[in-house]
C-alpha cells in the first residue's frame, strides 16, 4: 500500500464494497456497488447485464411460434405468465379469437404460476432475513405446483405451455381434482408461514418502516405489481384491463397503507389467497368447447404495432411487437419487464439504511435477473 501523505489517526472514509455478482443473496447475478459509511448505505449503484442473452434481438430472427419458447427464459420462475403475455400480444396484433375454454385454462395456469412465484419470493425473502425454515416450507408447496404443471405440459420450469390462438393441450383427466386439492393444501399452509413471520417481533423490526415508498413516489419511479399496490396505489392489470378470463372472475386487490417492506409482505400474502380464489372459480366454471382458435398455418400478422400488458407475479409485464406485414418474424420485439422497472427503485430504497436492510430490500422488490437482463 502506498500512501503519499500521512493519514490522520482517526480519519473516516467511505467504504466501497462490491456486492455481487457472486454474492449469496443478490438473487442471481445482480451487482451492487455500495458506498458505506460504517454500516450505513450512502449510495448504491446497481450494475446489471450479467445475464443478458439478447432475447429481444433473438426474437426478431425467429418466427412468431418460436418466440413463445424464448419468453420462458426471461422470468424463469414464472414462465407461464411470460407465455401468456406474449401470445396475447400476438393475438391482439393478428385479431385472433381465443376460445373461452382456452382462456380459462390460461387463467388457471397463470394464477398457479403466481402462487409458485410468490412462494419462491416468500422463501428467499425470509431466508435473506435469516428465517431459513420458511424457504423450505415454501419450496415444499411450490413442488406441488410444479407437479401440476408437469402433468399439464410435461415441463417443470420452462413450460412453453401456450400457443398463439389457444392452448396446445386440454386439461388432463383428473387434473381438475388435483388442482382443487392443491388449493386446499395451500390454504392450510398459509397460516404456517404467517405463524413464523407475521407476528414475529424480529421480523416486524426488520421489515416495519424499512424502504418506505409513498404512493406518489411509487408512481414517479414506475413501480408496478405488489410493490406499487403496497404503497396504496390501486393498479392491477387484471382489474383495469381484464385479459384472459379475468373479467369473469371475482377477486379483490389487496392494498397496503404504508408502503414499507412489511406491507409488501402482507400484500403478497393476501395475493396468495386471492389467487387460490381465482383458481377455484376457474376450475369450477371451466367451460366446454374447443381449446384452439382458428389460426393460419403461417403466422404473419398484418403490418402494425401493438402493446399489451398483463399482470405477472412480479408486476406489469408488457410486450411491444411491431410487424412489417411481410416477414414471419417480428420487425421489433420489446419487453417491459416488471423486475427491471422495480429494480430502479432500489437505490432510492436503500439510501440511509444498513447493509442488512439492503438484503431485505432486494428481497422485497422480488426481482429475477433473467428478466432484468433478458
Amino acid at each position: 500500500m502506498q500512501t503519499d501523505t500521512p493519514r490522520p489517526m482517526f480519519d473516516t472514509d467511505e467504504l466501497v464494497i462490491n456486492m455481487g455478482p457472486q454474492h449469496p443473496s443478490t438473487h442471481g447475478v445482480l451487482r451492487l456497488i455500495l458506498k458505506l459509511d460504517g454500516e450505513r448505505v450512502v449510495d448504491c449503484d446497481p450494475v446489471i447485464g450479467y445475464l443478458h442473452r439478447g432475447i429481444e434481438k433473438l426474437s426478431e430472427n425467429r418466427d412468431y411460434t418460436q418466440i413463445v419458447l424464448l419468453t420462458d427464459r426471461m422470468d424463469y420462475v414464472a414462465a407461464a405468465t411470460n407465455n401468456l403475455g406474449y401470445v396475447e400480444t400476438v393475438e391482439k396484433l393478428y385479431s385472433i379469437e381465443v376460445p373461452r375454454r382456452a382462456q380459462y385454462i390460461r387463467t388457471i395456469l397463470s394464477e398457479l404460476q403466481r402462487v409458485a412465484s410468490h412462494l419462491l419470493w416468500l422463501g428467499t425473502h425470509a431466508a435473506d432475513l435469516g428465517a431459513l425454515t420458511v424457504l423450505l416450507f415454501g419450496l415444499r408447496e411450490r413442488e406441488l405446483i410444479l407437479d401440476l404443471f408437469e402433468e399439464y405440459c410435461g415441463a417443470r420450469l420452462t413450460y412453453n405451455s401456450m400457443r398463439i390462438g389457444g392452448q396446445p393441450w386440454d386439461v388432463p383427466p383428473g387434473w381438475a381434482r388435483k388442482v382443487l386439492a392443491f388449493c386446499d393444501v395451500q390454504e392450510q399452509k398459509l397460516p404456517e408461514y404467517e405463524q413464523l413471520l407475521t407476528g414475529n417481533r424480529i421480523f416486524l423490526e426488520r421489515t416495519r418502516d424499512i424502504g418506505i415508498v409513498s404512493a406518489a413516489d411509487a408512481i414517479a419511479i414506475g413501480l408496478c405489481g405488489p410493490p406499487l399496490r403496497a404503497s396504496g396505489v390501486y393498479r392491477d392489470v387484471r382489474k383495469d384491463e381484464p385479459y384472459a378470463a379475468y373479467g369473469e372472475m371475482e377477486f379483490d386487490v389487496p392494498l397496503g397503507t404504508r408502503g414499507d417492506t412489511y406491507d409488501r409482505y402482507l400484500v403478497r400474502l393476501e395475493e396468495f389467497r386471492q389467487s387460490l380464489r381465482i383458481i377455484r372459480q376457474g376450475m369450477q366454471g371451466l367451460p366446454e368447447g374447443p381449446i384452439m382458435g382458428k389460426v393460419p398455418r403461417l403466422i404473419k400478422p398484418p403490418a402494425g404495432e401493438t402493446y399489451h400488458a398483463i399482470e405477472a407475479p412480479k408486476g406489469e409485464l408488457g410486450y411491444f411487437v411491431v410487424s412489417d406485414g411481410k416477414s414471419v418474424s417480428p420487425y421489433r420485439f420489446r419487453v417491459r419487464p416488471p423486475s427491471f422497472c422495480n429494480l430502479q427503485a432500489l437505490p432510492q430504497l436503500v439510501k440511509g439504511h444498513l447493509v442488512a436492510d439492503v438484503i431485505a430490500l432486494i428481497g422485497t422488490i422480488d426481482i429475477v435477473l433473467g428478466e432484468v437482463d433478458r
Binding site: P24, E39, G130, I202, E205, L354, V355, A356, D357
Partner: protein, 338 residues
C-alpha cells in the same frame, strides 16, 4: 503420583476427546434438527442416516488447500484460529461433569480442576477468545472487516449482561467455585434457574449472542457478509473457527447447566415416587441437561429471523444490561432483608 498426575491426565484426555467428538456430532445434530424442522431428511448418504458425515467433513477440510491471502497480515492471520479455539477448549478445565466416582479403588473427581475462582476463570478465558476476531482484520478484506466490527461490538456488549447474571448466581451460592455452586444448589434445595428465572433468561439470550447463534448470528450472516470474519479462511484454519464456535456453544450450555440447572444433580430428589431418577449417574444427567440446552439453541435457529446490527445493540444496552443490573440489586435486597 497416581492421584496427582495420572488421574488428571486421563481426565484431560477424556474430556478433550469427549468434547471434540461432541462438537463433531453437534454439527450433525444441528443439520439433522434443522432438517426435521424443515421437513427434510438432512445428511443421509455417509453411513446409516448420515452418522459418519462429520468424519467425511473433517477429512474434506484436511485435504483443502490452505490459503493465506497475499495482502493479509500473515502472523495474525495464522494466530487467530488458535486464539479462538484454545480458550474455548481450556474452559472445560473447571466444569464439573459429575460428583465424582471411584474406579479401580481410585477416587476419580468429576472434573479436571476445582479452582476456587472457577467462574471467574471461565469468564476470563471466554474473554480471550474474542481476540480471535483479529483474523477478520488481518485478512485485509472488506467483508471480514465489517464482520469483525460487528463481532467485537456484539461480544463485548453481551458479555456485560451475561457477567451480571453470573454475579447473581455468585450472590446466591456465596462461592466462585463451580463445584461449590452445584453444592449450594443441593443444599438450598432449588436449582438457581428457578430461583433466578430473569438471570437465566438473560443468560440464555446473552449466550446466543456470545456464541454468534441465530437470531444474533450477524457476524456471520451469510446473506449479508458471505461468511463473517472467517470469510478468507480455508481448510483446517477454517475448521478451527468452526470447531471453536461449536465448542463455545457447549461451554455456554455446560456453564448454564452448572449454574442454573443443578449440574450433575438429578431432578426431584425429594419426591418419593420419582426417586428412580437418581439411579442415572451424575454425568448422564449433566449430559442430558447440556444437550437439552443445546437443542434449544438449534431450535431457535430454525425458527427465528435474524436481528439487525443496531437492533441487537439496542436490545443489549437498553434492555438486557439494565435488567441484569436491576436483577443484581433486587437479589441483593432480598438477601439482606429476608
Amino acid at each position: 503420583m497416581v492421584e496427582t498426575v495420572i488421574v488428571p491426565l486421563i481426565m484431560i484426555v477424556t474430556v478433550l476427546a469427549a468434547v471434540l467428538v461432541t462438537v463433531m456430532y453437534i454439527v450433525l445434530l444441528e443439520r439433522k434438527v434443522q432438517a426435521w424442522v424443515q421437513v427434510r431428511l438432512g445428511p443421509m448418504r455417509v453411513g446409516p442416516h448420515g452418522v459418519l458425515q462429520p468424519i467425511a467433513d473433517v477429512l474434506k477440510l484436511f485435504l483443502k488447500e490452505d490459503i493465506t491471502p497475499a495482502r493479509a497480515d500473515a502472523g495474525v492471520f495464522t494466530a487467530a484460529p488458535i486464539i479462538v479455539l484454545v480458550p474455548a477448549l481450556i474452559a472445560f478445565a473447571v466444569i464439573p461433569f459429575a460428583g465424582g466416582l471411584s474406579l479401580f479403588g481410585l477416587d476419580i473427581p468429576g472434573r479436571i480442576a476445582d479452582v476456587n475462582v472457577g467462574l471467574l476463570y471461565v469468564i476470563s478465558v471466554a474473554g480471550i477468545g474474542i481476540y480471535g476476531i483479529m483474523g477478520g482484520w488481518s485478512s485485509n478484506s472488506k467483508y471480514p472487516l465489517l464482520a469483525s466490527l460487528r463481532s467485537s461490538a456484539q461480544l463485548i456488549s453481551y458479555e456485560i449482561a451475561v457477567t451480571m447474571t453470573l454475579v447473581t448466581v455468585i450472590m446466591l451460592a456465596g462461592t466462585l467455585s463451580m463445584v461449590g455452586i452445584v453444592h449450594a444448589q443441593l443444599e438450598q434445595g432449588w436449582w438457581f434457574g428457578f430461583m433466578q428465572p430473569v438471570a437465566f433468561g438473560i443468560y440464555f439470550i446473552g449466550g446466543l449472542a456470545e456464541t454468534n447463534r441465530a437470531p444474533f448470528d450477524l457476524p456471520e450472516a451469510e446473506q449479508e457478509l458471505v461468511a463473517g470474519f472467517h470469510t478468507e479462511y480455508s481448510g483446517m484454519r477454517f475448521a478451527f473457527f468452526f470447531l471453536a464456535e461449536y465448542t463455545n456453544m457447549i461451554v455456554v450450555s455446560a456453564v448454564a447447566t452448572t449454574l442454573f440447572l443443578g449440574g450433575w444433580l438429578a431432578p426431584f430428589p425429594n419426591v418419593p415416587w420419582l426417586s428412580f431418577l437418581g439411579y442415572l449417574p451424575g454425568w448422564a444427567w449433566f449430559m442430558l441437561k447440556t444437550f437439552g440446552f443445546l437443542y434449544v439453541f438449534l431450535w431457535v435457529r430454525a425458527t427465528f429471523p435474524r436481528y439487525r446490527y443496531d437492533q441487537l445493540m439496542r436490545l443489549g444496552w437498553k434492555w438486557l444490561i439494565p435488567l441484569a443490573i436491576l436483577n443484581v440489586v433486587v437479589t441483593g435486597l432480598v438477601k439482606v432483608l429476608v
